[in-house]
């Protein structure tokens, strides 16, 4: 299968088509709107399901197999802001606090992109390590903390006050709802193992792909409503939102290979590195770096990088990995 075939197959999957439908709904100003509780419910379902499944997979595989690539993933997440920050600061001429905020988003990860990637792998019959969810879980927070520290260093005046908002950011990064649900469900799944899975499989696994399709319809609308902000963010951030994922995707795949993952797992590590957070990071950043402009980080991660990864990125990292592993 060539890369074009891979992309085409991806574009014709229900998940991506429903995402496109959501975009169209936003662009045609249809009065379709998911009530916020439904959005929250879908998020909770997806995070708990993916976390639980990952935990069961860890119980099956044993921690021995998981810890090395997980540490590598965590490190990668923490390091990404260190080079994206100067790129934005000096390449993009962004104010320090905005550069730090955007860097935090690109070091952190998008659970939905990860989920879409596992769906894609299933669709093309590419096996993967189910415990890869652990990488997702450990990659969410570190970059946020690094980004916040970067932003504080660049703007700090009154020390005392900064410490309290740093503490708030740490609390948000570690106990905020998305990371809490994911890690919590992971631990629950790990404690339950296979017998636990047997009980809840019919709810958390069987209908999963359909729920994802419905959720991506909503995400398409959310992204579509942000499209008009693209003008405000300028061409630099637009390019950044596509080039960086490509770089980070390759880096992630390569690191996955280095730490002993199979092809499938390496692709997923690539996808994680390439993805940008739009749930956990915005919440923590808005609270601890309130002077950073949300239009920049939200538009780039939500309206540029997220759709790019869903539509094109995933099959590209797949092909990159196949080439690296062949």
């Amino acid at each position: 299968m060539s890369i074009l075939d891979a992309i085409q197959a991806n574009l014709l999957s229900p998940a991506v088509l429903f995402f496109a439908l959501g975009l169209i709904a936003a662009l045609t100003k249809s009065d379709l709107k998911f009530p916020e509780p439904l959005y929250v419910a879908l998020t909770i379902y997806l995070l708990v399901a993916i976390g639980f499944k990952g935990g069961v997979a860890i119980a099956e595989a044993g921690l021995a197999k998981v810890w090395l690539p997980a540490c590598a993933a965590m490190l990668l997440g923490a390091l990404i802001p260190l080079w994206t920050y100067p790129v934005l600061r000096f390449g993009g001429k962004f104010p320090a606090v905005d550069a730090a905020a955007i860097a935090a988003h690109y070091g952190s990860v998008s659970a939905v992109t990860f989920i879409a990637a596992t769906n894609y792998l299933k669709a093309v019959n590419q096996p993967f390590e189910n415990y890869a969810t652990a990488f997702l879980a450990v990659m969410e927070s570190p970059a946020i903390l690094v980004g916040v520290v970067l932003g504080k260093l660049a703007t700090s005046k009154s020390g005392a006050r900064d410490m309290t908002s740093l503490k708030a950011a740490m609390h948000e990064a570690l106990f905020g709802r998305s990371i809490f649900l994911l890690v919590g469900a992971l631990v629950v799944g790990w404690l339950c193992g296979k017998p636990g899975m047997a009980k809840v499989e019919a709810f958390f696994v069987t209908p999963f792909q359909g729920v994802l399709a419905l959720f991506l319809l909503e995400m398409g609308m959310v992204a579509g409503r942000r499209l008009e902000d693209l003008k405000k963010v300028g061409p630099f951030l637009l390019a950044f939102g596509i080039v960086m994922p490509l770089l980070h995707g390759c880096l992630g795949v390569w690191l996955g290979k280095l730490t002993g993952l199979e092809l499938g797992g390496a692709i997923l590590m690539g996808v994680l590195a390439a993805s940008a957070s739009y749930i956990a990071a915005p919440a923590a950043i808005r609270m601890s770096l309130p002077d950073a402009n949300p239009t920049f980080y939200l538009t780039s991660s939500l309206a540029v990088t997220f759709p790019f990864n869903i539509a094109l990125g995933i099959p590209i990292y797949f092909e990159v990995a196949r080439w690296l592993y062949s």
């Binding site: 409503r225 749930i279 919440a283 949300p294």
Partner: protein, 100 residues
């Protein structure tokens, strides 16, 4: 029936500012507050509440006139420059003066 004059301060702000505002309310001496999710439009763009990042919240607090002044001052210096937000005060009358 004895009615006592109080101030009602109404704050509409992005959802991410809610915790900070609530903390401020406690600090300035409010004895209670009421809040609910709203949608809105303003100088910082539409807040359709489609996701939490674009959610809005309205916070209402009844308090003594002096406390209201203190609260508004703190909002003006610490919050207005940073958050999508409006705040306004109005006159109300309550029955139980000590409650506020």
């Amino acid at each position: 029936m004895n009615l006592h004059p109080m101030k009602l301060v109404t704050i509409v702000c992005e959802a991410y500012a809610q915790d900070a505002v609530t903390k401020l309310l406690r600090d300035t001496g409010a004895h209670g507050w009421t809040s609910f999710a709203v949608e809105g439009d303003g100088s910082q763009g539409k807040r359709p509440a489609d996701i939490r990042e674009f959610a809005n919240v309205q916070i209402e607090v009844v308090l003594q006139p002096e406390t209201a002044t203190r609260l508004l001052e703190r909002l003006a210096t610490d919050f207005f420059p940073r958050y999508a937000m409006i705040a306004f005060e109005s006159n109300v009358r309550v029955l139980r003066r000590d409650k506020f």
